[in-house]
């Protein structure tokens, strides 16, 4: 069983590498599952023994890229920064680690992160969402906003995050400074909504 397990994980990696290379060079739309399979040296059907959908491949690539960031972030989180700064750092470093995919996986991200398709329980990006929200939970708690958190707060956070992500994916300003501005704006809003009691949000 050792040979098989190793071979499987190797194949999985070959698929991911092949897919990444094709996504980057040909874009999401022009990359076919057949193409990925050929590039990975396997049959089309085999591909789907490893990933249930094309989107899942993209999601796995993004998850892999984000995993490192998550750990990096934890390491650098010394409790000295503001809540806003911590969230900013988490999000921005996450986006940075996805920069290779920015252009090619924008369209895919629709399906991957779709808040609408989540009617079906496990959309490809669910793991990414859950992981990210766990990190956010930890940050919020460590800044004196303990769980349980109102559902609407989490919902709002994820909405704002997706908005920033979407803008970033299509943002061609130098250094993505427009996306950065939106992130800044969104975070200020979100943090303000936490600081205020329920009901009134900053009406002076």
């Amino acid at each position: 069983m050792r040979i098989t397990a190793e071979a499987k994980s190797a194949t999985r990696q070959r698929i991911l590498q092949a897919a990444m290379s094709l996504f980057v060079s040909d874009g999401w739309q022009h990359t076919t599952t057949r193409g990925i399979a050929v590039a990975a040296g396997i049959a089309t059907g085999t591909l789907f023994n490893y990933f249930p959908t094309k989107e899942a491949i993209a999601a796995a690539l993004m998850a892999e890229a984000l995993e490192l960031t998550g750990k990096e972030f934890h390491a650098g989180c010394n409790g000295e920064n503001s809540l806003e700064a911590d969230l900013f750092s988490l999000i921005w470093s996450g986006l940075r680690s996805l920069r290779e995919f920015r252009k090619c996986l924008g369209p895919a991200s629709d399906t991957i992160f779709s808040p609408l398709a989540r009617q079906s329980p496990d959309s490809p990006g669910d793991a990414i969402r859950v992981d990210h929200l766990e990190l956010v939970e930890a940050i919020l708690t460590s800044h004196g906003f303990p769980a349980p958190r109102p559902v609407v707060t989490v919902q709002l956070y994820w909405t704002l995050y997706l908005g920033v992500f979407a803008y970033w994916a299509a943002d061609d300003s130098p250094g993505q400074e427009d996306a950065l501005a939106l992130l800044d704006h969104s975070l200020k809003l979100f943090v303000a909504s936490l600081d205020q009691g329920k009901g009134t949000y900053g009406r002076q």
Copy 2:
């Protein structure tokens, strides 16, 4: 040329009716373009002389439903309500007019409204987005927030709107009261972000 023009518009309506009926009864995924064509009494190819994509059909249905609402809203807008109330009224009545499609077009709305797919210039929902944002523009202006408006503000509004929409589409709480709560929350945030100067948003 009169016969042709009338026939065309009649066919268009037959397509929309057929599509609506199938979307509602079979859902977005299980409705095929072939099925729509058959139900409308035309050939598959003909369907695509009227609508470029399956999504465009759904978008046209939604746009048609929303058009009425937009006019209703204008009529009932007497300048006596708060900004927040006006926005609430616009959005909530829009959602109400889409309630028939709530369950079946949720998945489709991903592609239709996708902020990510907007790399390609005219996604199916662009018209809906533009129309809606025009109404919002008018409301904001009439409440003393004149154009030009920072891009980030519009972006933020649309993000929040999509978030509410997505939640509403999948919300099975009685009377969609959860979605209503999210809308309330989101609007308070948005209005607060307008009321405050740039930089600080409601830090008391």
